[in-house]
């Protein structure tokens, strides 16, 4: 299948990209890694007049430290993210979730920021980013602003990004020394998550000192499992404690029914998988 015709620009700075988007109004699409966009264009489910390719912007790519914060450029590929020593050391949950995204070829081209901006409820990266209280650095015509992850994901495939804005980088507080696991449940290896649980836990002196849990595909946006986190803190890292905490997994979720699962099954899975994610993280 062949996409409909479009104009193409490949700016070399974030500012040029924003200008191009601003001029095009709603008629433009941002091309990051293209691993979701190109199939959409090929199926002609979108028909933009302009495609703005961020691939030529060096600033948007790479992983760095900024004091207590880890900064992942939006155009860093999944492959780079999952292999980055910095990410593995300070945000292991992100590295682990990234490893489960699609397949190796897609991970070579697909980008961290592209996945987040696409905001697919079944995507694996929004939940970890939400759980870890990341901040999104967004560039627009009037400069840059920072959006907390909790405000970034708005609805199905919808983020706080305006049509003339691009996601530049993601700032994640360092979770150095935290244990982590991303429990993904899907039908076949390269399928989207039916449900995913992102968990990262700091164990100190034989007890859970802090915990962060996010859920994939339990609503239109990723869901933070605050109830689970609260129930965990102060508990010993035992299977029993994880099971008790996992009971809270569905609080605040609005699981939908679709071809891959019905809502009640998703809720059941969320609970089971939360227990498993915590156990594996601490195991």
């Amino acid at each position: 299948m062949i996409p409909a015709e479009f104009e193409y620009v490949a700016p070399s700075t974030v500012e040029e990209a924003v200008q191009a988007l601003d001029r095009a109004g709603d008629d433009a699409k941002v091309l990051a890694g293209g691993q979701s966009l190109l199939p959409v264009l090929r199926m002609r489910m979108a028909d933009p007049g302009l495609v703005v390719d961020l691939g030529g912007i060096p600033e948007a790519r790479g992983v760095r430290e900024d004091g207590d914060t880890l900064v992942i450029g939006a155009m860093t590929s999944h492959h780079e993210v999952m292999r980055s020593e910095l990410v593995r050391g300070h945000a292991e949950l992100v590295a682990l979730a990234t490893r489960t995204v699609a397949d190796p070829q897609v991970r070579h081209r697909g980008t961290f920021g592209g996945s987040l901006a696409h905001a697919d409820p079944a995507g694996d990266l929004p939940a970890p980013v939400l759980a870890m209280d990341a901040e999104m650095v967004v560039a627009g015509p009037s400069g840059r602003r920072t959006v907390p992850a909790a405000e970034f994901f708005v609805d199905y495939f919808t983020t706080a990004l305006d049509s003339n804005e691009v996601l530049v980088e993601v700032r994640i507080p360092k979770y150095t020394g935290w244990r982590a696991h991303y429990e993904k449940f899907n039908r076949v290896a390269q399928a989207w998550s039916v449900v995913g649980v992102a968990a990262t836990v700091l164990v100190r002196d034989g007890a859970v000192a802090r915990a962060r849990v996010g859920l994939t595909n339990m609503g239109a946006t990723p869901v933070r499992a605050h109830g689970v986190e609260r129930a965990l803190v102060g508990s010993p890292p035992t299977e029993e404690a994880f099971r008790r905490a996992a009971v809270h997994a569905t609080e605040g979720t609005q699981a939908g029914s679709d071809a891959s699962a019905e809502a009640d099954y998703r809720e059941h899975l969320a609970e089971v998988l939360t227990g498993r994610a915590l156990a594996t993280a601490c195991g």
């Binding site: 015709e5 091309l31 293209g34 691993q35 600033e59 948007a60 780079e80 190796p104 070829q105 897609v106």
Partner: protein, 187 residues
Amino acid sequence: MPRITVDVDGITCTDEVQPRTLLVQYLRDQLGKVGTVVGCDTSNCGACTVHMDGHSVKSCSVLAVQADGHEVTTVEALSQDGRLHPMQQAFHDNHALQCGFCTPGMIMQALDLLAENPEPDDEQIREGLEGNLCRCTGYQNIVRAVREASQRMRAGAGPAMEHSGETPAPRTSTEQTAQQRVAGGQS
């Protein structure tokens, strides 16, 4: 129309392409490199897998304009002087293909997988091929072939497998830079 220059299987190609032209269409329709095929339109089957700057990509999900200035390697470049690449030989020796339609993509992904992990176990081989569908073989002989190729290629094992000789060449410079960027942490 944008003008692009792409190194395809060692030949420098400069062409005008429509922005919407997919890399695989550019390879097949404009360059006549029909060894790389298209099996789906959702980036699931992996039949169109080629290498771009040393990494496997699905050429149906890359625009030709995105390949501008990059190196593309297809299955057609693997055998040299009439000698099969060890991976091709292993596919032949282990009956790892029947109809052969998925084979170019499967071989290119298998090479990428060995570049990532030169000594994979069977489970790692299966995971490394999760983005490539085959309807004929049930995969068992493909796994066998990749295992055998990894043994054949192990001597001086290294990442770049686009050479039929036993001694691998270094990674492309683009790949080195990318690695440094990730490891070095400065964007």
